[in-house]
């Protein structure tokens, strides 16, 4: 809990969020774009940042909450240092992606959308990364691991600890 608070103050305290909001001040239709940029900067949306967005863009907080929970790109909780995406697109699915996901879940003890207690890994599933030739695909921190088989998942994850 303490760690979470610390992350939150750091995030809201940094001038980056102000810079992002500054670009769109008063433009309510830019809400999604602002949230995307904050998400990219911090990997999640701290509550204090959302309050700032609400004040500066003139959008009620409940509407921001609606948007932030509707879209997949946003996270309202802190994320791990490493982001794992397992592609569950159709092509990856029929090439065995569910088996890859099973192994990742078993190894880390978390489900998609969750972060492990040590804030090391966050796990997500995505619906097609558009590199179906390499399926099944697992991406860790932007690096693509193509033609993944259950047996080498552990090795891949170990290299990020």
């Amino acid at each position: 809990m303490k760690q979470e608070e610390k992350v939150e103050t750091e995030a809201a305290g940094s001038g980056k969020i102000d810079q992002i909001i500054d670009k769109y001040r008063g433009d309510a239709s830019a809400l999604i774009q602002v949230l995307l940029e904050i998400q990219r900067e911090h990997h999640w949306l701290p509550k204090e940042a959302l309050e700032k967005v609400s004040n500066e863009l003139g959008v009620p907080l409940n509407q921001i909450q609606h948007v932030a929970t509707f879209y997949k790109a946003f996270s309202l909780v802190p994320r791990g240092r490493h982001e794992i995406q397992v592609c569950m697109g159709t092509a990856c699915h029929i090439r065995g992606a569910p088996r890859i996901l099973d192994v990742v879940e078993n190894l880390l003890g978390i489900h998609p959308g969750e972060t492990d207690l040590g804030l090391t890994f966050s796990l997500e599933t995505v619906n097609c990364l558009g590199c179906c030739a390499m399926g099944p695909v697992m991406v860790v921190d932007g690096k693509y691991h193509g033609k993944t088989v259950p047996a080498n998942v552990e090795g891949v994850l170990k290299s990020y600890d």
Binding site: A30, G89, I94, C132
Partner: protein, 642 residues
């Protein structure tokens, strides 16, 4: 760069660009689309730049990073011009040889060429590779020639001449007539005639109108829109500007998913360059027509690709659909007339204007004109993007271009149209692919995803997969979609878990009907297609799951077991070591046994067991034989016994 202020000036500029290019100067082009990037094209690019310097060729060789060539299976792809020698699956270590042999010595590096699996022949040119040979790449073909961040490359190939023609020689009405005459149908899903949509928007009352590019390509397994936007963004901008002129819009939006960062970046660069050159902004090409484009990034919601939902998202609100008693062409973004088409549709427009509606209508079938880009993926040898004339048969695509099914497996079905589409069985492989034929077969064109499935694919699991996707993506605003999909998913899940009951199939059919008839938007209305088409063609698989608790394709985890045949096991320890669940009991020279309690059915043992032993088998619908007694597990080799 001076602004181009008339059609004549554009032609002058084009001549100037071409005159500065040396057609005989060697040029290395490297595919840098997302798929090639994932397979290492960035590293290859670095080593090409380094090697050109190292071998003293700076200034003597051009190097261009292009958009997607389509043959993703064999990426990263290099084409060396002017000979157009095509090298596949390039790694950084291959680059010194390409530079020293092909650029300096003009010799072909045989080992990097494509080998035809049928004849074992080496093929030098991209256009002769069977994957490309039977394609008709009118929209997608320039991708491999253009550096998407350099507008001059697009101009060199005749870019913006369609816009110049429209603005200088045609009235907006004539442009509209031309599109109507071409019978261009929307490439994003429903196949609605683009001309009719444009006309409705043009005739709608209101001074402010919008044109929109839908690049929220959400169908899993389809990525042609991304590849176009990444690889040839100016073609989309040009088409959109022509459309805006015909409709009378002065503002445009490109709605692109944030999951496509390279597309966002390249389209941003392209807009900037087009503005500098005067193809966007005020008084375009001296015609008095003004037009600007904004990019809006989508934040990841499948349903936001639906036109009315997308327009709500552009306003900064949650992208949920609304009833469309009044078309978005009349009341769209901010309740103003808005014309939305997808990326491929807009990219086709400049070609129709340049070459004429008759040329376009000469391609394709009676009801579906022109070409279509498909993403051919799944259990097929040549994964990639293919552009073919409408009316080609599925067999020609899958076997002719795709090279058939890998590993000598048997074809089972091809799924088209994404989560709204259906599965087409082998009996219909000779069907001509167009909007109407696909719909007749219980599927649809969609945005052009084509997922090939072989005998190892369970059709009930596929239906469950799509419903799972849709239940996750349904926005929940209307009950028939939200609840209908949820209930269908529940039934399908129980069937795949061996808990299916007599009457489930009929219940699925009934739910399908209600969801189809009563849902608000196309997501719900088409959600049943994956279920109905698999029931229609693969009812026996449903029945096997329900009645015999058997998964014929050995996919559904709860219905299968892995078993090591004690007669065949050689105690080699390979599966023992690789099992991620540590579910294999064994030791050196001991027959291995799977602990069925611990087994997670990941299939690793089945895959790693050496084929010469073939000791691991999959079982379904029958009990696993009891494990062999511990004292009988020692293997006595024949050689030792002697």
């Amino acid at each position: 760069m001076p602004r181009v202020s008339s059609a004549a000036e554009l032609e002058g500029l084009r001549k100037d660009i071409l005159s500065r290019r040396e057609p005989d100067k060697p040029c290395i082009t490297l595919c840098s689309g997302t798929a090639c990037h994932a397979s290492g094209s960035t590293e290859v690019a670095a080593s090409i730049e380094e090697e050109i310097k190292k071998q003293g060729l700076s200034g003597k060789v051009d190097f261009r990073r292009t958009g997607c060539h389509g043959f993703c299976e064999k990426g990263p792809i290099i084409v060396v011009h002017p000979e157009k020698i095509c090298y596949l699956q390039i790694e950084p270590k291959d680059v010194p040889e390409i530079v020293s042999q092909t650029i300096k010595e003009k010799k072909v590096v045989e080992r990097l060429l494509y080998t035809d699996p049928a004849t074992n022949e080496k093929i030098i040119h991209e256009s002769e590779i069977p994957f490309y040979k039977n394609q008709e790449r009118i929209v997608f073909g320039s991708n491999g020639e253009i550096d998407p961040t350099n507008i001059d490359d697009y101009l060199a190939l005749g870019g913006y001449s369609g816009l110049a023609k429209a603005l200088s020689q045609m009235t907006p009405e004539q442009v509209l007539e031309e599109i109507k005459k071409s019978n261009l149908r929307g490439r994003g899903g429903g196949g609605f005639p683009a001309g009719r949509k444009w006309e409705e928007c043009r005739n709608a009352p209101g001074d402010i109108k919008y044109v929109i590019v839908n690049a929220d390509e959400g169908d899993p397994g389809a990525y042609m829109d991304r590849s176009l936007l990444e690889g040839n963004p100016h073609s989309v901008l040009e088409g959109l500007t022509i459309g805006a002129y015909a409709i009378g819009a002065h503002e445009g939006y490109i709605y692109v998913r944030q999951e496509y960062p390279l597309a966002v970046e390249n389209v941003g660069i392209a807009i900037e360059q087009a503005r500098e050159y005067g193809f966007l902004g005020e008084n375009i090409l001296g015609s008095g027509f003004d037009f600007t484009i904004k990019v809006h990034r989508g934040a990841g919601a499948f349903v936001s690709g639906e036109s009315s939902a997308l327009m709500t998202a552009i306003e900064g609100r949650v992208g949920e659909p609304r009833p469309k008693y009044i078309h978005t062409a009349i009341k769209g973004v901010r309740d103003r007339p808005s014309c939305l088409n997808n990326v491929e549709t807009w990219a086709t427009v400049p070609l129709i204007i340049s070459k004429g509606a008759e040329w376009f209508a000469g391609l394709g079938t009676e009801g579906s004109k022109g070409t279509k880009i498909f993403s051919l993926v799944g259990k097929v040898n040549n994964t990639g993007l293919v552009e073919v004339p409408m009316g080609i048969t599925l067999r020609d695509i899958i076997y002719g271009l795709g090279g058939g099914i890998p590993g000598g497996k048997k074809f089972k079905a091809v799924q088209t149209g994404g989560p709204s589409g259906g599965c087409i069985p082998e009996e219909q492989l000779d069907m001509q692919v167009d909007f109407d034929q696909l719909a007749k077969a219980g599927s649809m064109m969609g945005s052009g995803g084509m997922i090939v499935m072989d005998e190892d694919t369970c059709m009930v699991d596929v239906a469950r997969y799509f419903l799972d996707f849709l239940s996750d993506e349904s926005c929940g605003k209307c009950v028939p979609c939200r609840e209908g999909i949820r209930q269908m998913l529940k039934i399908l899940t129980s069937i795949t878990r061996g808990k299916g009951k007599e009457g489930d199939i009929e219940r699925l059919e009934e739910l399908s009907e209600v969801t189809r008839d009563a849902s608000l938007c196309a997501l719900g209305r088409t959600a049943a297609n994956p279920v109905l088409s698999t029931i229609r063609y693969f009812r026996d698989e449903y029945e096997a799951h329900i009645k015999e608790k058997r998964c014929p394709a050995y996919v559904c985890k709860e219905l299968i077991s892995y078993y090591i045949d004690p007669e065949k096991c050689q105690g080699c320890m390979i599966c023992f070591r690789q099992c991620p669940a540590e579910a294999i009991i064994g030791g050196k020279n001991q027959i291995h046994v799977i602990d069925q309690e611990k087994c997670t059915k990941c299939g690793t043992c089945f895959e790693v067991c050496p084929p010469r032993f073939g000791a691991v088998s999959k079982m379904s619908g029958e009990p696993v034989p009891p494990p062999i007694a511990e004292e009988a597990r020692m293997i006595t080799r024949k050689s030792e016994a002697k």
